[in-house]
């Protein structure tokens, strides 16, 4: 049993979780939680919020795995995990927004890639990376939220604490700048 769990991919683990296999679920947690935690931490600096979102996400995975595994076009299990976490993160922001205490967004200072990072492989694509560098930081932030994280305009606006129309105009600007840089 142990061996077969080790060999199983994440998608397989989700399928087994759907059948109520607690071992598979724990293995899924063991493998994916450090990654999810790191990713959430880069978006929200409040540890308690992150911990809550993590817990809600994995509980949702446990409960909804059946539907996910049963749908004909189940995409990647890891991508699914992120989608759930992303929406729950926005929910946490919503809760805070109405109590007027937004959790601090982990805003990385825009530093140029350090020398050792330059040699990093697995790029989004060399040109795209350069194009991203020339974007103003706020436009890049919007692009990250919408394209990489899959948030909607409304969710992005909540997450970054700027009005929807500002999100939209930044996204449009980013689009134009990217098109120019890539051509």
């Amino acid at each position: 049993m142990r061996r077969s769990l080790d060999a199983a991919g994440e998608d397989d683990l989700v399928r087994r979780t759907a059948a109520g296999d607690r071992g598979a679920f724990d293995e899924l947690y063991r493998r994916t939680s450090p990654w999810l935690l790191a990713r959430l931490r880069r978006r929200c600096a409040d540890e308690d919020v992150v911990a809550d979102v993590m817990q809600e996400t994995y509980l949702a995975v446990w409960r909804a795995a059946g539907t996910f595994a049963g749908s004909a076009t189940s995409g990647s299990g890891v991508g699914w995990l992120w989608t759930i976490a992303a929406h729950r993160l926005v929910d946490a922001f919503r809760r805070r927004a109405r109590q007027n205490q937004l959790p601090a967004v982990a805003l990385t200072e825009t530093v140029a890639p350090a020398a050792e990072d330059e040699v990093m492989a697995a790029r989004v694509g060399q040109e795209l990376e350069h194009a991203l560098l020339v974007l103003p930081p706020e436009a890049r932030q919007v692009l990250q939220a919408m394209v990489l994280d899959g948030f909607s305009v409304r969710e992005t606006s909540l997450l970054l604490g700027v009005p929807e129309n500002t999100v939209k105009s930044r996204a449009r600007r980013a689009r134009l700048a990217l098109r120019e840089a890539l051509s």
């Binding site: 991919g9 994440e10 759907a18 059948a19 109520g20 607690r22 947690y29 063991r30 493998r31 994916t32 939680s33 450090p34 990654w35 935690l37 790191a38 990713r39 931490r41 880069r42 540890e47 992150v50 911990a51 817990q55 994995y58 509980l59 446990w62 409960r63 909804a64 795995a65 059946g66 539907t67 595994a69 049963g70 749908s71 004909a72 990647s76 890891v78 991508g79 992120w82 982990a106 990385t108 200072e109 825009t110 530093v111 140029a112 890639p113 050792e116 990072d117 990093m120 492989a121 697995a122 790029r123 989004v124 990376e129 991203l132 560098l133 930081p137 890049r140 932030q141 990250q144 990489l148």
Partner: protein, 266 residues
Amino acid sequence: MTTHPNPAVIARYADPAAELDEVTVWSVEVHLEGCAHCRALVAGSTADDTRSLLARVAAGLDDGIAAGPAPVRRPRWSAARHRWVVWHLMPWLTMTVAVLACAVLLQALAPGLPSLVALLAPVAPLPGVAIAWSRRHDPAWELIAGTPAAGLTMLLRRTAGVLAVVVPALALASTRTGTSMALTLLPCLAFTAATIALGGFVGVRLAAIGLGAVWALAVIAPAVATAELPAVLRAGSSPGWALLTLTLAGLAVLRADNFRRLSSHN
């Protein structure tokens, strides 16, 4: 994505205190989502506080799982079944099939009569189509009417469900009584298309009632009175029916917009 990021970069990514420029974060995240090997590296480079946080969440999960319901494995076809089978249609479809069975029986008892199956074929799908998407008969109408899928999509989907029952039943009835298959199925399809095309203007229910009444008065009644099969159902008229079906289906598609709009009928 064939090459992996430098493990040192991944370690810096996993450490929330470490500085990493956004562009690198971006490409690391894209990579991590698709690469189990590098996700394992993230897991390997966790600090103590991270491990304690993960353990805390895990303990919370234990409680949550113990308190809540277990995952429900869904039967394989349940989604498709819920989307295509409409339960409130069942009694009507049962009735349609029963009427056809009676027609077959009657035909066997009184072979002198004109083919009842052929006479009934055009109107057989009408009751089902009429109530497939109707305010009066669908209990969830109010909920569904405000969704983007309401309208033509919904009507066509449910009509397909009706035809999936009626067409095989008619085919069986026609082989049993020796009636021409083409002259049974083509009029059935033609009337279905006509109901939808006309329904775009006056509502499907009214269209079905109107067409059914016209057929009963103009064709069924004289045929029963004279005990003779009318000209429109005799051999040789099937090309005409095929043409009619195509024309009406085309017309229904052209009028598709009517169903997407708000309307007071249906």
